[in-house]
C-alpha cells in the first residue's frame, strides 16, 4: 500500500466525514436564510466548479484508491476537465474574494453585519483557492521541460496533496453553502 494510496483513503474519509458532521450536527442549530444563496451565473459557475472537482477526483483518486495509475480514459477525463476547473476556480476567486474577507466577526454576528459568508465558509473558500492555485501551478510546471525526474516527482506529489486538500475543502464549502442551512419557512 503506497503512501499516496493511504492519503487518498484518508482524504476521502475526511471529506465525507466533515460534510456529514456539519450536516448532521451543526446544520440543525443554524437559522434558515431567506432565498437561495446562489443564483444565476454565480450558481452556474459554482456548480460547474464542484462538478469539475468531483470528476477530477474520481478520475485521479478513484484510480489510486483501486491501486491503478491514472491512465487511458481517466487521464483523458482528467485533462479535459482541467481547463474548466481552472477557469471556474478563477472566476469564483474574483467573485467572492471581497466577500470572503475575514473581519473578525463571530458566526452569529455575520448576518447582522451583512456578511454573505460565514467564517467557516470563508476559511474553506481560501483554503480551496490556495490549494487550487497549487494544483494548477504544479500541473503547468510539470508540463514544461524545466524539471527532471526528481523535480517531476516533487511536482506530482505536491499536486496530489494539494488536490486532496481541494477535495476536502471544496466538499466542505459546497456542503456549507448549498446544504448548510435549513430551508426557509414558506410564508
Amino acid at each position: 500500500m503506497t503512501t499516496i494510496r493511504i492519503l487518498t483513503y484518508i482524504g476521502i474519509v475526511l471529506a465525507v466525514w466533515l460534510a456529514l458532521i456539519d450536516y448532521a450536527v451543526m446544520r440543525p442549530k443554524r437559522k434558515a436564510l431567506p432565498g437561495a444563496r446562489l443564483r444565476g451565473f454565480e450558481g452556474l459557475v459554482y456548480l460547474g466548479f464542484l462538478g469539475c472537482v468531483l470528476l477530477m477526483s474520481v478520475s485521479s483518486f478513484g484510480m489510486i484508491a483501486v491501486g491503478e495509475h491514472m491512465h487511458r480514459w481517466m487521464l483523458i477525463v482528467h485533462m479535459s476537465v482541467a481547463p474548466p476547473y481552472a477557469v471556474c476556480l478563477t472566476i469564483l476567486a474574483l467573485m467572492w474574494a471581497e466577500q470572503s474577507q475575514f473581519r473578525g466577526e463571530r458566526a452569529a454576528e455575520s448576518a447582522a453585519l451583512g456578511e454573505r459568508f460565514y467564517p467557516g465558509e470563508k476559511l474553506a473558500f481560501w483554503v480551496t483557492v490556495a490549494a487550487g492555485f497549487v494544483t494548477i501551478a504544479t500541473a503547468m510546471l510539470g508540463m514544461m521541460t524545466w524539471f527532471g525526474s526528481d523535480g517531476q516527482i516533487v511536482l506530482l506529489n505536491t499536486h496530489r496533496i494539494a488536490a486532496l486538500v481541494v477535495l476536502v475543502s471544496a466538499v466542505f464549502h459546497g456542503t456549507r453553502v448549498l446544504l448548510g442551512r435549513p430551508a426557509a419557512a414558506v410564508e
Binding site: 495509475h69 491512465h71 487511458r72 480514459w73 487521464l75 483523458i76 485533462m79 479535459s80 482541467a82 481547463p83 481552472a86 477557469v87 476556480l89 478563477t90 476567486a93 474574483l94 474574494a97 474577507q101 475575514f102 473578525g104 481560501w126 483557492v129 490556495a130 487550487g132 492555485f133 494548477i136 501551478a137 500541473a139 503547468m140 510539470g142 508540463m143 514544461m144 521541460t145 524545466w146 524539471f147 527532471g148 525526474s149 526528481d150 517531476q152 516527482i153 506530482l156
Partner: protein, 750 residues
C-alpha cells in the same frame, strides 16, 4: 662362513628400515607434489598491466609443439610434428579453470543446466533456393527449433554455422556424431575473442571449418597464422581409421618457424579488455533499408517518400541505412564516449557475460542460486548503470530492479563506468513503468515502417563475397515494439510489469510436416531430396552460389502445391537397424549432446520415423501455414504456432539524448502516425501479395481508443497551457492582494 655379530645384525636391520622409510616417504611426497601440481589454481598476475603471452604451444595431448630445426639448406631436418595447437591445452596450462570458462554463454547453449535467459538471436537456417529461413537454437527459446528436431545433427550444425561459432559447446566437443572423428572436435576458441591485434583471422578460420574442408581441429592454428594446414578432413571417408597404414593421412600442420622465438615460444597479443572489433565479427548489426515495396516479395507498399523508401517519423530525421551508406551511421553512443563492449558486457572466469537486461539477475538466481550469482550484474543494465537499483524516481516497485543489498549500500549504486544520471526533463515518470530505455534510445530511429537489418550470424557478415544484397535472406525487421516482461516474455496490454521494448523480428519460412497440430520443419537438403533435383530446378529455380548472399525470390502458390505433392509422395531411405536400445521419450538430459531427435523408439532395433518424414506436408511463410486443398489443386492457409514470428530484443546501437524518441517533445509518440503505435510490420511472405501489414499497436494487442484520443488533444495543448498559466497568475494575484490586506489588518489591530 663367519656368523654375523649381533651388533652388526642390528646395524644392518636399522639401515634397511631407515632406507625403506626414506623411500616410502619420498614416494609419498612425490605423489603429493604431482597431485598438488594438477590441482594448482590458475596462474595469474592480478595486475592491470597485461601479461605478455609468450607461451609454448601444446597439442590436444598436452605435448609441446616445436617446429623442426632447419638445416643449412633451410629445409627442416626432421618431419614436421603435424599436430595442430589445442587452445584448451595451450591456454589451459596456466588457465587451469578452462572448464569453468566453458560454462559461459558462448559455449553453454546445449547445457540444460544453463539459464535460457531472455530470448536472443537464433541461428537462422537460411536457404535461398527452397525459401527457407528457420530459427534454430539449442537453448529451446519459444519460437525456435532444436537442431536435432529438424534432423540436423551436431556436425551439420557446426558446418552450417562454424563460420561464427566460438566452439566449445558440448554439442561440438562431446557429440558422438561420426564425422567429428575426421574433422576433430570444435574446440573452444579463446583467441577469436581475446586477441587484441590482427594476428588472428576469423576469415581464415572460416576457410578451415566450411563444408569444403571440415578441418575443425586445425582451424585455430591456421587462423593464428602459426602455419599451413596440409590436407582436408572432408576427404576422409566415414570408415577412416587413423591406425590403418593404408588410410589417407589426417591433415597436418607445417608450422611457420618465424612465429617461434629462440625458446620455441609464440607471442600472442592478448589482453583482458577485448577490443570491440573482436566482438564485431559475430555481433555486427547493419540496417539495410526499407523492405522493398513494403515487403520482400511484392506485397503492399509502405508509404513512400519522394526520394523513395519509407518516410521518417514526423519531425524526425531519417537515419535509414542501406549497406552502401553505412558511413552515415554514428555508432553506439557508449563507444563514441570511449567505452568498450566489455566495459558493460563483463564476466569473470565463468564467462557468463552480462547481457544487461533487467531480468537477468533473477534468471541467473533461478538457475544457479543466489549465492552463486554475482550481485553487481544488477547495476550493469541500462537502469542499473545510470540510476542504480533504485531505478528512476517515481517508478513502481515492479519497474525497479532487485535490491541485492540494503538501501544505500555500494552494490546498489549507479554511475558505473562514470555513467551520467539522466534528467529526462519534462518526461512524466509514468513512462518509466510503461516503456523500456531501449524503446526511446536504441536501434534505428523509428520510421513509419520497419526496416531490414542484417546480422553477422544470419547474413554471414565478415566473410568476403562479391554479391551481397540489401534484402538478402533471411529477412529480419526492426524495430518492432512489443510489450514484454523483464524476462523477455510477451505480456498483455494491462500487465503491470510489461514494458514496450524494441525487437528484431523474423517471420519463419520453411517446409514441414504437420502431425496433429504440430509442424516439424524439414531441412533444405531434405526438401530438395524429396522434390528431386530436376523438379527442384523447375520449381525453385537454380540454386545460387552458396558463397554469395542473395535474396529470396517470390514463390507462386502453384509451385508450392507441386512441391507439396512431391514431398507427400517422397519415400525417405529406410534407416539402418541398430541394436535394441532402451526406450527414450525425450532428448538426453545429460550435458553431452546427442544426435538422437526427440522421438520414441518404436521397437527394439528399429529407429522411429522422425516427425519430419511423416504427416501432411505444409509450407509456412508470412505468419501462416499452407496445405494443399482437398482437391489438391490449390493452397489453403491456416494458423499455426510454428508460423508465428520470432522476436528478440534489440539494445544497440544506443542513440544519444538528442536523437532519442521524445527529444522533440511529446508528439514524437503522442500523435497520430507516431512510430511507437502506428509504424507497420510486414509478415514478409514468400507468396506474392500474401504479406500482411499491421501497425505496431495491433501486433501488441493494444487498445488504442484512449491513446488516440490523448494524441488528438495535443494540438490543443498550447490552449491548455495558456489557460492554466493565466488562471494561476490571476489566482496568485488574488491570494497576494487579499493576503496582504489580511496581514495589514492584523498588524493594525495589534
Amino acid at each position: 662362513m663367519m656368523r654375523m655379530q649381533p651388533r652388526t645384525r642390528r646395524r644392518l636391520a636399522s639401515g634397511v628400515l631407515i632406507a625403506v622409510a626414506v623411500l616410502v616417504t619420498g614416494w609419498a611426497v612425490a605423489q603429493r607434489a604431482v597431485g598438488a601440481e594438477a590441482a594448482l589454481p590458475p596462474e595469474r598476475t592480478f595486475s592491470n598491466a597485461p601479461f605478455i603471452h609468450k607461451i609454448y604451444l601444446r597439442d590436444e595431448d598436452g605435448n609441446l609443439i616445436s617446429p623442426p630445426k632447419a638445416g643449412p639448406d633451410g629445409k627442416p631436418l626432421t618431419e614436421d610434428p603435424g599436430k595442430p595447437m589445442s587452445q584448451y591445452a595451450t591456454c589451459g596450462k596456466c588457465h587451469s579453470d578452462a572448464d569453468t570458462m566453458l560454462t559461459g554463454w558462448h559455449s553453454n547453449a546445449s547445457d540444460p543446466r544453463a539459464p535460457k535467459g531472455r530470448p536472443g538471436e537464433p541461428w537462422i537456417l537460411a536457404d535461398v533456393q527452397t525459401r527457407t529461413q528457420l530459427p534454430l537454437s539449442y537453448r529451446k527459446w519459444d519460437g525456435t527449433h532444436h537442431p536435432h528436431d529438424v534432423g540436423m545433427n551436431d556436425f551439420k550444425f557446426a558446418l552450417s554455422f562454424g563460420r561464427h561459432l566460438p566452439g566449445g559447446d558440448a554439442a561440438l566437443t562431446k557429440s558422438d556424431d561420426l564425422r567429428f572423428r575426421m574433422s576433430g572436435k570444435f574446440e573452444f576458441d579463446c583467441l577469436v575473442c581475446h586477441t587484441t591485434d590482427n594476428g588472428y583471422d576469423p576469415v581464415d578460420r572460416y576457410y578451415q571449418v566450411n563444408e569444403e574442408v571440415q578441418n575443425f581441429k586445425w582451424a585455430g592454428t591456421y587462423a593464428a597464422g602459426l602455419g599451413k594446414v596440409i590436407g582436408q578432413a572432408v576427404k576422409l571417408r566415414d570408415n577412416w581409421d587413423p591406425a590403418d597404414p593404408n588410410a589417407r593421412p589426417a591433415p597436418k600442420v607445417a608450422y611457420d618457424r618465424g612465429r617461434f622465438d629462440s625458446e620455441n615460444k609464440v607471442l600472442f597479443n592478448v589482453e583482458r579488455r577485448i577490443p570491440n572489433e573482436r566482438c564485431y565479427y559475430c555481433h555486427t548489426s547493419v540496417g539495410s533499408g526499407p523492405l522493398p515495396n513494403g515487403d520482400a516479395h511484392g506485397g503492399p507498399a509502405a508509404p513512400q517518400s519522394a526520394a523513395g523508401g519509407s518516410k521518417p517519423a514526423k519531425g524526425g530525421v531519417s537515419f535509414r541505412q542501406n549497406l552502401e551508406n553505412r558511413y552515415r551511421h554514428d555508432r553506439d553512443i557508449h563507444l563514441l564516449k570511449g567505452m568498450l563492449c566489455v566495459d558493460c558486457h563483463r564476466n569473470g572466469a565463468d564467462h557468463m557475460t552480462t547481457r544487461g537486461y533487467e531480468g537477468e539477475y533473477a534468471d541467473r538466481v533461478a538457475a544457479y542460486g543466489a549465492d552463486k550469482v554475482d550481485k553487481t550484474i544488477t547495476t550493469l543494465s541500462c537502469v542499473g548503470c545510470h540510476y542504480g537499483t533504485d531505478g528512476p524516481a517515481g517508478t513502481t516497485p515492479q519497474a525497479g530492479l532487485p535490491a541485492v543489498a540494503p538501501h544505500g549500500k555500494p552494490e546498489n549504486l549507479g554511475g558505473r563506468a562514470a555513467a551520467p544520471r539522466p534528467e529526462h526533463k519534462g518526461l512524466p515518470t509514468l513512462h518509466f513503468d510503461k516503456i523500456s530505455c531501449t524503446a526511446c534510445h536504441s536501434g534505428p530511429y523509428p520510421e513509419d515502417a520497419t526496416t531490414m537489418v542484417q546480422t553477422s550470424l544470419a547474413h554471414r557478415l565478415g566473410l568476403p563475397h562479391h554479391r551481397h544484397v540489401d534484402d538478402a535472406s533471411p529477412i529480419i525487421q526492426q524495430p518492432v515494439f512489443l510489450r514484454v516482461d523483464k524476462a523477455g516474455k510477451p505480456v498483455a496490454d494491462d500487465a503491470k510489469d510489461g514494458k514496450i521494448t524494441p525487437h528484431k523480428v523474423l517471420y519463419p519460412s520453411f517446409w514441414g510436416r504437420l502431425n496433429g497440430d504440430r509442424i516439424t520443419p524439414m531441412t533444405p537438403e531434405l526438401v530438395l531430396a524429396a522434390v528431386g533435383k530436376g523438379a527442384a530446378k523447375k520449381l525453385f529455380e537454380e540454386a545460387p552460389d552458396a558463397k554469395e548472399v542473395e535474396e529470396h525470390k517470390p514463390l507462386d502458390k502453384e509451385k508450392i502445391v507441386q512441391a507439396l505433392e512431391k514431398i507427400a509422395a517422397y519415400q525417405p531411405p529406410a534407416p539402418e537397424a541398430k541394436p535394441a536400445a532402451p526406450a527414450a521419450t525425450a532428448p538426453a538430459a545429460t550435458q553431452g549432446a546427442t544426435t538422437r531427435p526427440a522421438t520414441t523408439q518404436a521397437a527394439a532395433g528399429v529407429p522411429a520415423t522422425p516427425a519430419y518424414h511423416t504427416g501432411e506436408p505444409v509450407y509456412v511463410t508470412g505468419g501462416k501455414a499452407y496445405r494443399r486443398s482437398k482437391d489438391g489443386t490449390s493452397l489453403e492457409s491456416f494458423d499455426s504456432a510454428a508460423a508465428k514470428p520470432y522476436a528478440w530484443a534489440l539494445a544497440h546501437d544506443v542513440r544519444g539524448a538528442q536523437q532519442s524518441l521524445g527529444a522533440r517533445g511529446c508528439t514524437d509518440c503522442h500523435a497520430s502516425g507516431a512510430p511507437l503505435f502506428d509504424s507497420t510490420v510486414s509478415s514478409a511472405s514468400v507468396i506474392p501479395a500474401a504479406s500482411v501489414t499491421q501497425p505496431m499497436h495491433a501486433v501488441r494487442g493494444d487498445s488504442m481508443g484512449a491513446l488516440a484520443a490523448f494524441a488528438a488533444t495535443y494540438p490543443m495543448r498550447p490552449i491548455l497551457v495558456f489557460t492554466g498559466y493565466a488562471c494561476a497568475i490571476v489566482l496568485a494575484l488574488v491570494l497576494l492582494n487579499y493576503g496582504t490586506r489580511a496581514v495589514s489588518r492584523i498588524g493594525r489591530r495589534k
